[in-house]
Symmetry: C2
Subunit: 405 residues, 2 copies
């Protein structure tokens, strides 16, 4: 009987560990593999034989792990060289997997990870190594193609939406209020910022304006809108995606850009500070606060969506089932039947199609002014942020369990 | 039968509305006053007759209000002139209160609000106006004298502690990790930053260093400590209070200071960015992230402490009871019997003693190095952040109710 291995890659989410636990449960039921190994720090760690036996971990610890945010097996941002340039890493990896008698490899990640899955499965097929490679989707950005949404997104959206209502309340207590700017993640796409359209107080959205990378940003129009709204209601609440761009496709935050990650993506941030400066310089008001949610939005298990946790779990479970059927080079995708009687079902998509591809927020869900989101989008978001998880506490704070430290 | 009025002042907290609801409940039971009025936007609003009848609000709405963060009656930062200089505002206020047949005035606030209570009760006694003035404590900073702790603090500490564990996990996923800096509020005192000593993963505190205003900050010692720790464990987690000072008592963030509030307090912020720059310039690592929790820590009802909500409620309840007994110029204070069998009881203290006074974090609870907190402090913090509130949801996000909009 052979073994399998699961590892995590890319930026963490609140629910990425649930997928690992889903796969463990599926193997417990089906006994398809003798052991489920965990690769620590993704491919980078596996290449260094940082491998643990997850099947040997107690049920209690696995249950804490299920409700632990962030990549509890550790992560990496390791990009395999193109096969045409060098096959050395591929050979080393396969050698290590064979050493552990591993016949299925699972990778929980985003589009860069699906690139890895596509490359490895291509290599494996070509060289007849007898190992299958399967991707399990994960990203708070919700920007993977060929899936209705991605595990991790619903929880991030729930935290951001909750935070939007709460900071709106905080920003509205005085007679003379100011302007509040909430900055969300979203380098290329506006899904996270857009999801705040469902954040309401007394049945009215708390956000006055929502700015996404999918609608080009015009600073003159922005200042005109904000000034008008501020004169009307003596306060303005703005949500902005870190990746907003001008009409030429240039990042508004580009001047604040200080570094690049290993994949050559610009590390963004600081758009809200830029907008704050614009407002101050235009003299609309001196009371401007900006808040960058930063990593909070991708690790806030304490405010996660239970639907999201469950779907992440199911995606892991189903990945194993498909692998047993001999599938390889695929990613599990989530489909929805309809919004009202929300019901998710799972299928497969070629990992190569997902890799290095981006699913943008539909422009037909953005208003004509380019500064708000329509009702259809709200109906899309609502079912994804459902219910709260039942966390375990140690003393009075959540009890979490990880394996990478 | 006469009426009473309650209003809120100063910076919001997650539980400030619970005190209003506690007072409403006490009046429902005792029927001491015919009506409980709510003054919108504190004294500033009352002077403009922005007054509503809270007794006429439905039980359902009051229950939503009880679990709504931030000042739902609106707030102000209005400082009464000293009586020696002008009594005009005092006369106007008393006139309005008499117009509404109000014989008791309740103010939920921090030390500036207690200054208001002390002044008004002094004026009322001197001029025999027959109105009592009572303070109900509120501040996330926990810096009021003559009370074991303040309503609002436990919830802020719970959110900060939870966030510390979750961002620590986020900051530890790679083989090569960096340095993470979490900045909490706390202009004069380090209670909030110190409370992160109870944030643990696998029974070990997540914070490596905690810096408070009560221990003078030395940048050379800081860089030495951080460098050593980074070399040891390839990651460092730092918690810092916005108000840390150097040995001469100068705010470290002073250079980032951009404004002052109405009480002449410097508006701080940006210490974490300053520390980040120090680390980068010292060349310890290029991977440094800083996170300013900003207003999130004072409005996160979704992660509030139920003990805190209950105590805020009880403080409001008891304020009414004492007012009926004819007490005036006092603030409700919370006392603890002991840590293990934690039990809070309530008494009164002269508002004047609390006003314009600050309760510092005990230096005997800080380690010799001035960069961490000892066990005794953990025992103090633990009971204050107990349990989670049962929130009402609308759709999938919390349903909140306020009266100032």
């Amino acid at each position: 009987m052979s073994n399998c291995i699961i590892a995590q890659s890319g930026g963490p989410t609140a629910v990425i560990n649930s997928s690992v636990v889903g796969l463990l449960h599926a193997n417990k039921e089906s006994k398809a593999f003798e052991k489920v190994y965990g690769g620590l720090n993704g491919i980078e760690g596996i290449l260094n034989r940082n491998i643990i036996d997850l099947s040997a971990v107690s049920d209690e610890e696995i249950n804490h792990f299920r409700f632990t945010p962030s990549s509890g097996l550790g992560s990496c941002r390791y990009k395999l060289k193109d096969l045409e340039n060098s096959s050395e890493e591929y050979e080393r990896l396969i050698e290590i997997l064979k050493e552990y008698n591993i016949t299925s490899f699972f990778y929980v990640g985003g589009n860069d990870s699906m690139d890895t899955i596509a490359k490895l499965s291509k290599y494996a097929k070509k060289n007849n190594v007898g190992i299958t490679f399967m991707g399990i989707p994960k990203t708070i950005d919700n920007d993977l193609m060929f899936t209705d949404h991605t595990p991790g997104f619903g929880s991030a959206a729930k935290f951001i939406g909750t935070t939007a209502i709460e900071t709106y309340l905080d920003a509205s207590v005085y007679i003379n209020n100011g302007i509040f700017i909430l900055e969300t993640m979203g380098r290329d796409t506006g899904w996270l910022a857009a999801s705040t359209c469902i954040a309401r107080l007394h049945d009215k959205p708390v956000a006055d304006f929502i700015y996404l990378p999918e609608a080009s940003f015009d600073r003159y129009k922005f200042l005109k809108d904000v000034r008008k709204k501020f004169e009307e209601q003596n306060k303005v609440y703005i949500v902005v995606s870190e990746g907003i761009k001008d009409k030429d496709g240039k990042f508004i935050s580009e001047l604040n850009c200080s570094a690049q990650d290993n994949f050559g993506h610009a590390q963004l941030g600081g758009v809200s500070d830029y907008l704050k400066r614009l407002i101050l310089e235009a003299g609309i008001t001196k009371r401007v606060k900006s808040l960058e949610l930063s990593v909070l939005q991708r690790c806030a298990m304490h405010c996660a969506s239970d639907t999201d946790i469950t779907e992440a779990f199911n995606a892991g479970k189903i990945a194993l089932k498909f692998a047993v059927q001999g599938e390889t080079g695929k990613m599990v995708s989530i489909n929805r039947e309809d919004n009202e009687l929300y019901n998710a079902y799972y299928s497969l998509v070629e990992a190569e199609k997902v890799a290095n591809n981006v699913r943008y927020f539909p422009t037909e869900w953005i208003n004509k002014e380019g500064n708000f989101i329509n009702e259809e989008a709200c109906a899309y978001f609502e079912p994804l942020i459902n219910k709260s998880p039942k966390l375990t506490f140690e003393g009075n704070l959540p009890k979490y369990k990880v394996f990478n430290q």
